[in-house]
Symmetry: C2
Subunit: 657 residues, 2 copies
């Protein structure tokens, strides 16, 4: 019976281990369930808000509030008995390998490294097991939640307005973010020095930390503001400027912060200024950014080519799956190569929208749009509710009043140093000036959101990082609730016109058009190259290459041109302007109940505030570029009305799909 | 400078840890990238196959082949230097806690328990780090990949044919799976005894192990066969029987296997027979199954009620998100309560399809269908390619020829003992007999797939489980490739009619109809209750409750009836039969290029082989149930033709959405 006895013990031990694993799995399920129910609650409440046309609280703000409430309950309401199953090994080890095998009386258990823990946190670790359980690994944000959000942003960039304002957007996103980062960094360094003087600083805080803080709070995320802009049909150029800037500066801030972390001077003192190290950091910034950019564009183009050369559009499921997988592989490829997946995914999204989208079947176009819309919605609200939760459940908060006040001032001044000087400089070059009320609105719309949060929670090991994290949380809360909630007031206070049809420019008078032609030379060069060469090679739309390439390239042009392209020449095809998530689409999805009462789901976006014909901008483009093909497209779409001044009638119901 | 020096070391150490984590993250990304690229390759190849009308290899079979190839390359093609970063702790520990804190010269590192490792595997662990890296935690299958597959199965059950054959399906799924489990278990026990005699057994193999093996290989997954059935429009009753059985027996096999694992006799010897323990196992089976069932149905009904009482349908994104979150929360809730999430999700899917689906806006109906279709596609192909990969990368294979031969024989006999006797018994009660060629086809279509694989890889700690896993892999490969590939041959060999319109019964002659009325009493009682009471309460379709409830319940009925229900009374509404993924839909998605050449994405399922009017079954229902309302619906749908015998014309193009 000794053998049997051994097995019995073996089995019993097995059961104990399994029970433990099962218990942990149950706990994980329950934790995740909390978030799912939070999101469900958010959805129901936001439906009620939309139903009642209540605009002061966006779903992200609401998700934060619910998260806060649950956080309070978890922190103060529930008392779990102290879990004493953790053990601290006392034996001398001199390495921290990734995998650990522990020999417990003849049986081997495998452990994986989760991370380093501050010596003064060791007690906490054992203390509040339950609160730690609802804490996610910060890398979850970068590997699971942010990619769909960022991809969706890229995929839904209103390309025409984006490309038209490209110069300004790039200036705000690159120069502006760097300016903001350094202004905030310097101000915070001053603040930290002051705190050291008065003895308010409980740990180290270096200049690189300040710069890092500047980088992470420079990523704006005006999702609340943009949702209201959409609903109220605010000026498209303002929308494009804000959206384009916020999309790109996330990428810039992300790469910038990792370059700052990578700043490592040679020698003993790692916190002195050193030219070489700074140059190296700058090189890292350039390398990582351009590498991620190239990778993202490359996979986008590969997807476009695959969908161009195969007839995958006959099988929508395969097509959608391929699109999804290729976009995901961009992220993985970038991460595997040491670039930044989130940045790669952004540019992949833009490329997919610009080229691949045109090759997809209409069904797949809807599917991919809706899929990423859903993923974006879920991920965004998840992050914001987690933000609310973490204010109470995070265990190493360092709230320092002086630092917090300093940070708020610095964030405000940093944003101002980004917007106003750059707008002034840009207005020197722009004929279509960025007016001062637009500048104030951009200043006001500098909300901080998902990216700032994810960057600040990524590393909370040191005192400085913990203080940054706590302060960042407050900045996010304040901007989302106060600035987000005050958007409508700010709009009316700044007398910014609402109810502008997204497809109609507020500058269609002839002289304006010609001035725009002058100023947008960068855009025009790009547009011509893209329209004449890239579009025909990568998509089924656009003119045939035989028409755009010089005659000497005849055979090559014929090989690369799809039969469809010839048909396009004399066929109406809604080309590159409004296919991607137009405002109308978003409006339909989010629109007020009174606006889109068509319960059958037909795409009519009637009513509210479309103050112009859908086609006026097509005319604009037609006149601007004198493109024969566009003329033909335009005329087909035009309603029988005077086209010199779009009449403010409601003749255009159901025109925009 | 000593302080500075300390910081410098601190920073350096930090960097080393970060480098390690970064390296590991890169590796993870690269591993996942392998699978994504595999899936991409599968999609492209399967497109080529469909394009060329090549039917012998289904995408899942193809995914396995690609997985195999990559497995071979990883195993034999790539040599990585041995990773020596693992360390075995030699100090005496007497516990294996879930979290471990290790003090390495003053710094604390946190480790989490990954699992126990067999003493003889300890060397392997250190050996082949790279192969282990591409190995997923088996729980990934149960927590991430299986739920969407199973939910999609439930959500796309063709409900009318499913409910009509409910008795038979339940018999096959419950009785059949239990019979199959015990037959295979007994046969394998005989085989194992024989192996012990001839000294072929290298470890322990108990009767419970045999039963466990019987349970896991009793889960059939004829996805390949069903895809071909769809394409060729095979008889709907055969389709319903096979699909219904395969969907339900996954659930039965899953709960059955966990009940067998839970079999724990008191006393020393854990492998003797004991009545109480067996009864307890049986109780666990009943409890877990009915608990999961109740939970799944409950969340489904809650979702239906939410969508019934709110006007969420005006905001499709919110609606789709709510639907997704509620379905996911079913899984989490079941897991948190100790039930089986996958089973709960199955019944949630069926309930959602039956009730909630009717409350969704048309747009959300499409969105949810397409979303879960995509998730199902990705998860399924991922599992199958992982299966191929794991044949070479799994490191503890035990291939025992005798056991393998025994298993193949047992699997064959077990399936036979399920199908033939049960069909004989069912035919005693059924008037619409399950003919012998249908029985042979069901026998042949007993493929093993995702569920069998997931169950067998879940625990590979002991020798017996390792042998089971290796054998199961071979069973899956054989059945998917040979049986799956031979489906068309088998169909023609058994002379089973293809090209039957899914909406047309092959038994519409009047006498058949009346006999069916007799046999389907269970269905009829359920249908009447469901149609008169549940549907009106939970959905906007169905007759108003005021018409179906007795007059005394008047006020309650008026309160619960939606205004829409009154309109329904005299309005054409495609009710409960064909809304969910009809064959036509799947055909549209997967159909041959020559069949659905409508590139505009319109839902026309023209061409191929629809041998009857779409409405004949509506007539069938109308005559069978004499429901006034149905008559009104039916007449609206009927084409102007003689309704005693549906004419085999092709008048019905575009009739079915």
């Amino acid at each position: 019976p000794s053998k049997i006895h051994k097995y019995s013990i073996f089995a019993m031990e097995n059961i104990v281990t399994e029970k433990k694993a099962e218990e942990s799995h149950r706990q994980d399920s329950a934790d995740l369930l909390i978030f799912i129910l939070l999101l469900t609650l958010t959805i129901l409440t936001i439906w009620l808000f939309k139903h009642r046309r209540f605009r002061f609280l966006h779903e992200t703000g609401l998700a934060m509030i619910y998260g806060l409430l649950v956080g309070v309950v978890l922190r103060y309401g529930i008392h779990v008995p102290r879990d004493i199953s953790n053990a601290t090994l006392g034996c001398p080890v001199n390495a921290s390998p990734a995998t650990l095998l522990i020999n417990v009386s003849g049986k081997f258990y495998e452990y994986t490294l989760k991370g380093e823990i501050n010596a003064n946190e060791v007690d906490n670790v054992q203390d509040n097991e339950m609160l730690r359980k609802v804490t996610f690994d910060p890398e979850v944000f970068f590997n699971i939640l942010l990619p769909p959000i960022i991809f969706h942003a890229g995929y839904s960039l209103k390309r025409r307005h984006f490309f038209r304002n490209m110069g300004s957007i790039l200036a705000y996103a690159f120069l502006g973010t760097v300016i903001s980062c350094f202004v905030i960094g310097l101000l915070m360094y001053g603040c930290v020095m002051l705190m050291k003087q008065v003895g308010q600083l409980g740990g180290d805080f270096f200049f690189t930390d300040c710069l890092f803080f500047g980088a992470i709070v420079s990523a704006t995320d005006p999702v609340t503001v943009l949702a209201i802009f959409n609903e109220l049909q605010v000026d498209v150029d303002l929308y494009a400027l804000l959206f384009g800037e916020s999309v790109l500066n996330d990428a810039v801030a992300l790469v910038l912060s990792s370059s700052i972390v990578a700043y490592q001077p040679q020698g003993d003192n790692s916190h002195t200024f050193e030219g070489t190290a700074m140059l190296k950091s700058f090189g890292i910034f350039l390398g990582v950014f351009s590498g991620s950019f190239a990778l993202g564009v490359a996979t986008g183009i590969v997807t476009a080519l695959i969908s161009f050369f195969t007839k995958l559009r006959d099988f929508q499921l395969l097509e959608t799956a391929l699109f999804f997988l290729m976009s995901w592989s961009t992220f993985l490829l970038a991460e595997a190569c040491g670039f930044t997946g989130v940045v790669a995914v952004l540019f992949c999204g833009i490329t997919q929208a610009h080229y691949t989208f045109n090759n997809l079947s209409p069904d797949s176009q809807d599917r991919t749009k809706q899929l990423f819309e859903l993923l974006n919605f879920l991920a965004e609200n998840f992050i914001f509710s987690y933000m609310g939760l973490t204010l109470f459940t995070f265990q190493n908060h360092v709230f320092n009043p002086m630092f917090i006040v300093g940070a708020f001032v610095a964030v405000f001044l940093g944003r101002a140093a980004n917007i106003y000087p750059l707008s002034f400089l840009l207005n020197l070059g722009r004929r279509n000036k960025i007016r001062s009320n637009f500048q104030h609105m951009m200043m006001f719309a500098g909300l901080r959101g998902a990216m700032t949060f994810a960057l600040s929670i990524r590393d909370t090991a040191t005192y400085a990082r913990q203080m940054m994290f706590s302060t960042t949380l407050l900045v996010v809360f304040f901007t989302v609730w106060i600035c987000g909630g005050g958007t409508t007031q700010m709009l009316s206070c700044q007398r910014i016109r609402v109810g502008v049809d997204s497809d109609q420019d507020n500058s269609v008078s002839p002289e304006r058009r010609s001035t725009k032609q002058e100023s947008a030379w960068l855009f025009r060069i790009w547009y011509n190259f893209d329209h004449n060469y890239l579009k025909p090679i990568l998509t089924h739309s656009g003119p045939p290459l035989t028409a755009t390439l010089p005659p000497c390239c005849g055979p090559l042009a014929r090989f690369l041109t799809s039969p469809q392209a010839y048909e396009n020449e004399c066929q109406l095809k809604d080309d590159d302007s409004d296919l991607i998530l137009t405002d109308g689409d978003i409006n339909l999805t989010y629109g007020d109940i009174t606006v889109s009462t068509d319960a059958s789901g037909a795409h009519t976006s009637g009513g509210a505030a479309f103050a112009g014909a859908a086609t006026s901008d097509d005319l604009d483009r037609e006149l601007t570029y004198g493109d024969h093909e566009l003329v033909m497209r335009g005329t087909r779409l035009v309603l029988p009305m005077d086209d010199s001044e779009p009449p403010f009638t409601d003749l255009h119901h159901g025109m925009r799909m």
